[in-house]
Symmetry: C2
Subunit: 221 residues, 2 copies
DNA sequence: GCCCGCTTGTGAACGCAGGAACTATCTCGC
DNA sequence: GCGAGATAGTTCCTGCGTTCACAAGCGGGC
């Protein structure tokens, strides 16, 4: 499930606050979801809770680290060292979560050999060897859209089964590989869409609430 | 719907290739979704297609620009100029999609006054005035997690109704505001989760398919 | 040792998104 | 002008995720 990392972060906060146990309701509040959902999600990992008490924070964290691959320190390679790629290479959050950025590759000869975030940029043609030598498990694509599919194919061919795509492009991978995408411009466009709707609604009537035909039902937030 | 921007990008590609009309099947292939979904999504905007022919690329793009707020060039403010914030400020994709980054703010006095991507960083206390003067509609939060909720509150108070949160933190906004979040570490953890499952499955048997107790049912992938 | 309250874990119902199938309508050919 | 092919728009149905509700089990109090 995609919510496990959020629980993980909540549990980490609780542990840092020296909280020994947490109930599903607490976790639900922290993660911004329903309590039943928390219980069902966590039961998917196994029965690590104690009825009448809650979940042991430390123990549950240990189990989640194992499941989320944090314990293994899965290596990451970033492909494409443009503005975004460089920022990602310098982003500390990855290493802190158990995903050390261990290699950088690009196809631009002028970038190969430069050092970013303490790591030397290598040519993408060396990808196979890099992945083998460093045990890379995850690839981050931050190339232009036109190169994304080719890079994805190369990553898969090199044995990288998990890909995070930042390029604004729809790419496909074999069924036995994982693909997630983050499209920054799309996120803004989605926000723009709702913003636009709000604006046009506000233009019709100065009062944002209670459209004319609305009945007396209380405006539940 | 969250898929409209993807259709928008596909349509832009078609227009650049001088394609006049596109069928829902074409668009579906480009966007990597089902054709029925494309038709349903587009019909949500209105009946802009012609039966037996398809969709007029130019006209549909015009309508989508209007709906997605691209036509309005909604201004963006980036709050928090760490590694990620600076990268986002330098990211060209926003302006290209009609969302010009028009202001940068931070709470660190040593950052205020510096120029990033041609824009002078201002103090967050000036947020109200900045939003008013520049007509900012969208706020991007790239602060540490601890500051995210406070920044969100300030943005909403200043009249920014659309927020994109990059901080690894669950934040809440009033019901009349939009919130989307991008958590880079979480994305990796999700990939790590599936990777971990693949690895442990591979460790049990070299053949990834047909677990021992599997019956004769064909292994549907 | 037993009872009671609390909390997990899970079965069942609900709602929504996705996909297939159908209908309506347009273009082209004859 | 009419029929055939094609394609948008719509309806229905299936499946999944979410939520509610209840049973199971643990700990504390007396």
């Amino acid at each position: 499930m995609a919510r496990l990392p959020v629980y993980h972060r909540s549990l980490t906060e609780l542990r840092d606050a020296n909280v020994a146990t947490a109930s599903s309701e607490q976790l639900a509040a922290m993660a911004g979801v329903n309590a039943a959902k928390v219980r069902k999600d966590l039961s998917y990992l196994g029965s690590y809770g104690t009825r009448g008490v809650g979940y042991d924070v430390q123990y549950l964290l240990f189990q989640m680290d194992r499941e989320l691959g944090r314990a293994s320190d899965l290596g990451v390679v970033i492909v494409g060292l443009g503005n975004l790629g460089r920022a990602l290479a310098n982003y500390d959050g990855f290493g802190e979560k158990g995903f050390p950025v261990s290699a950088l590759v690009d196809s631009d000869p002028t970038k190969v050999g430069t050092v970013i975030a303490g790591i030397e940029v290598r040519h993408i043609d060396d990808l196979d060897q890099i992945v083998r030598d460093l045990g890379i498990a995850i690839g981050i694509i931050s190339t232009p859209a036109s190169a994304a599919q080719d890079v994805a194919d190369r990553l898969v061919a090199a044995g990288v089964g998990s890909i995070l795509n930042f390029a604004p492009s729809v790419i496909s991978v074999p069924g036995d590989a994982s693909l997630r995408k983050v499209d920054l411009a799309v996120e803004l466009q989605i926000l723009g869409f709702y913003q636009q709707r709000r604006d046009s609604r506000a233009a019709l009537g100065t009062e944002p609430e209670s459209p004319p035909e609305a009945s007396a039902s209380a405006g539940g937030g």
